[in-house]
């Protein structure tokens, strides 16, 4: 169906070195396969996907050598628009790819461009609405839909032209678990019922790897692109979901790819681990329990109510956050996580109730005072950035925080080494941009650091780096609060979890207590080893190493 024949691609970019993005890729994807493309950020995954429908090089520029043939059509002589009836391409952000404004029109758009007769269009729109479960949304404006619904509309809008290949670039990276579930179920159905060939790139491997028939690894450091069955590629892939990491630690062959696979083999491991204690999380100055209670809280809320136009979003939240804690704020979209962060940073005034951050009411502080007490890295870190280079950005931050010159750049270099200071912030990778925003916030040494959805678009490597950074911040005695859907991140980093539902605090306690028994918030390792309270493969590895040492003695 799709064949890459000695494909190399070089972008004609004056700034970057002329090293090819892809070098001598040979790949053949047969019909009806679900093919998963993995690799680190910036390794060339997106380029590979875009080469399938000819966006690379027709739209992006660059020099492509070799041949890409899709369903017998060579992309050399076929522009993306000429492949529209063979390849359906869905980009990273569905909203920015929408041309019309309602669901029904969006589904019809591709067919209108191809000039299909009206009765065919009518029929296919109805079929697609049913296939993707969008029938009750047909007249709704696209901007009113939830992120998962938007993603499904984007898939539907390319399906109406009846393509043989569906190409998806990170379809679930920005979605919460529930919405991701919706989209993945849809995709499964397309592969199994319609025999569609699906090629997708994804960072959140734990969600998709068990569905893949083939995995293509794009290493991105000059080594060749490899492909093969998931179990063999996962054996030594530099990026892997927790279930695979656990499999490697324990030495399972073939590697399990889903929680179900692993759980069926986990009995001996559970026996080995029985009676061992998972290592305690560093909380409240590295010490657990009583000492933490004694420390005065960094932030305190008392019956906090906040909302918009008579709609209370937070309905009486009472909690206290102490120094040295890493607190994860979880809950579905619209439950009030972001509003709580905004109230903590004073962007939103409470309607009633008390809020104290570092002993002050944040909404009354002037911006120049505020940043010494509390800092927030917003969902889109680029909102904080507006200078032309990283160096200028850092100088500005030094002046804003009234600290000695070079402080911010120093912090940034510690968080993200090897980034040239002359680079434009927009050219940084997602992870580097996050650390730059974090460095700017940290320059003023706030006692409370807030992060809103920090792992959007981060690969496993960048995420591991973030985990280390957050642990360091907690060790310095700061309080870190992160609002996130990423249960694996929570398992790695958080010492305490707050769950918000419908504006009310429904759970508050140490991470293991909250997540192990929860079907929605449990990380993969906890699901495999429950009722034991293990959260990450690293924890298990450390414990197992101790066990073997003891038995060897």
């Amino acid at each position: 169906m799709i064949r890459f024949d000695h494909v190399s691609l070089t972008y004609a970019d004056a700034l970057k070195s002329r090293a090819p993005v892809l070098r001598d890729v040979n790949l053949s994807i047969p019909e009806g396969e679900l093919c998963l493309v993995i690799g680190r950020t910036g390794s060339g995954k997106t380029t590979l996907l875009r080469a399938i429908n000819g966006l690379v090089p027709h739209f992006s520029g660059g020099t492509l050598s070799g041949r890409v043939v899709v369903n017998g059509r060579d992309t050399k002589d076929h522009r993306p628009r000429d492949l529209a009836d063979v390849v359906g391409f869905v980009g990273q952000d569905p909203l920015s790819g929408f041309v019309t404004d309602t669901v029904e029109d969006e589904l019809a758009y591709g067919m209108e461009s191809l000039g299909l007769p009206p009765d065919v269009m009518r029929r296919r729109v109805e079929e697609t609405l049913d296939l993707l479960g969008l029938a009750e949304l047909r007249n709704r404006p696209l901007t009113d839909l939830s992120a998962g619904q938007q993603q499904r509309v984007a898939i539907g809008s390319v399906l109406t032209t009846h393509p043989r290949v569906l190409v998806l670039d990170e379809p679930t990276s920005a979605l919460d678990p529930l919405a991701a579930e919706e989209v993945l179920a849809t995709m499964q159905r397309l592969v199994h019922d319609l025999g569609l060939t699906v090629v997708l790139a994804e960072h959140r491997l734990e969600r998709v790897v068990q569905y893949a028939d083939r995995v293509v690894l794009v290493p991105g450091d000059g080594r060749p692109v490899r492909d093969g069955p998931p179990t063999s590629i996962m054996q030594d892939s530099p990026i892997a979901p927790p279930v695979v990491e656990l499999g490697r630690v324990v030495g399972w062959r073939p590697l399990p790819l889903s929680v179900r696979d692993a759980r069926r083999r986990a009995d001996p491991v559970r026996a080995q681990l029985a009676g061992l204690e998972a290592p305690a999380r560093p909380s409240a100055h590295g010490a657990a329990g009583n000492e933490a209670e004694a420390l005065s809280p960094v932030a305190l809320t008392e019956q906090l109510v906040a909302g918009y136009n008579n709609v209370p979003v937070l309905k009486g939240i009472s909690t206290s956050l102490r120094p040295g804690e890493v607190v994860a704020l979880m809950g579905r979209n619209g439950s009030g996580k972001s509003t709580l962060l905004k109230t903590l940073v004073g962007m939103k005034r409470p309607t009633s109730g008390q809020i104290r951050v570092d002993g002050r009411a944040p909404a009354t502080l002037r911006p120049s005072q505020l940043l010494r007490h509390v800092g927030l890295v917003p969902q889109v870190p680029a909102d904080l950035l507006y200078a032309h280079t990283v160096a200028l950005e850092c100088e500005q931050a030094d002046r804003d925080a009234a600290v000695s010159a070079g402080t911010t750049l120093g912090i940034f270099e510690r968080l993200s080494p090897d980034v040239p200071a002359g680079q434009h912030p927009r050219d940084l990778s997602e992870g580097q941009r996050l650390t730059l925003a974090l460095a700017i916030i940290l320059a003023a040494r706030p006692a409370l650091v807030l992060l809103d959805e920090p792992t959007r678009g981060l690969d496993y490597t960048a995420k591991h780096r973030l985990v280390e950074i957050l642990h360091d911040l907690a060790r310095e005695g700061r309080c870190v609060v992160l609002a996130t859907h990423d249960v694996e991140l929570v398992a790695e980093v958080a010492s305490r979890v707050l769950v918000i539902a419908d504006g009310e605090l429904v759970a508050d306690g140490p991470t293991a207590d909250i997540v192990v028994s929860s079907p929605a918030f449990a990380p993969q390792v906890a699901k495999i080893l429950s009722p034991q309270r293990w959260l990450t493969p690293t924890d298990v590895a450390t414990a197992l190493a101790e066990v073997t040492e003891v038995t060897q003695l």
């Binding site: 007249n139 619209g334 904080l384």
Partner: protein, 377 residues
Amino acid sequence: MRAQHLITYPRNLHPGAWWLWALGLAAAASRTQNPVPLLLILVVTGFVVAARKSDAPWAKSYGAFLKLALIIIAIRIVFQAVLSSGSQGPTVLVTLPELPVPGSTGIKLGGVISLEAVLRAFYEGLQLATILCCVGAANSLGSARRLLRSVPGALYEVGVACVIALTFAPQLVTDAARVRSAHRLRGHSSRGFGSLKRLAMPVLEGALERSVELAAAMDSRGYGRTTDETRVSRRLTGALVFGGLLGICIGVYGLLSGTSVSWMGLPMLVAGCLLGAVGMSVGGRRTGRTKYRPDPWAAPEWLVTGCGLAAAVTMFVSVETDPTSLFLVSVTAVPPVPLLACAGILLCLLPAVLAPPLPRSTATKATGAAELVGVAR
């Protein structure tokens, strides 16, 4: 007879019909400063909007246009009555303390304010306000977006560009609000010139990135695939459509101004329309696009358009036959009632019944809930 010809069959009227109806009223308003027909037009538009507007967000825009119209009248009165020395009459209302201004500029500050000046300013402002309200009524009755969907094939690219602009504008506002609130996080206040620069960078960069994304998405979905055009045919279409538009503009100007030479009026309009129509059909032939569920143009559309046309025609006829009833001899006199013109305007009330009722939306409740969630985010 097919159901869409019935005026009782619930559906959305073609937005084009609403715009033509409103333009007819606006054309009528542009030919008179007599407050009687002007106020009548205001009442008519308000009544029809109240009877036939949907619950879509743009349907609320009539109120905004009405407010804008009131502001225009107020500004007009202030400038003309208080600041202009030329338009004052004998009936003095008040005398304000006057600041001396070097002579013969026609400008004054304070001083005598006469009834004539206030009334004349009010009548002139009322005319402009009425035209504005006609546009507001069209906007709230027929969605501009849906109107753009039914542009002819030759103007397809222009239509797409307009739709995208309509989508991007609110997106820019949301982005700007988000970036502004982020300023606070860096310890900046969100006022002053510096903040504007800090606002512009991320917002414009974001918009540019989205545009590139959109272009890629449109390309991979077959945009422009079926346009099989030669340079000659493209130029021919362009010339025809442009010439036609120019003709229409001159014709409309000639008709509405009423003072220019006769060939500029109706003949020019007709010639322009013909030229444009030829251009559209030549250009329409070259696009291989098809249209999904085009809005039907049936009997109710013709009736509503006819009402608007009737208002314009009766007004133009009255101007010719009975000019004294439409141009006030003295502003202080009680304005006369031009019967023919008023009858034409009252005919425009009929669309409140002639336009089919709107289908009851079943998704209203769900949309409301979604909005709440959107707000919460």
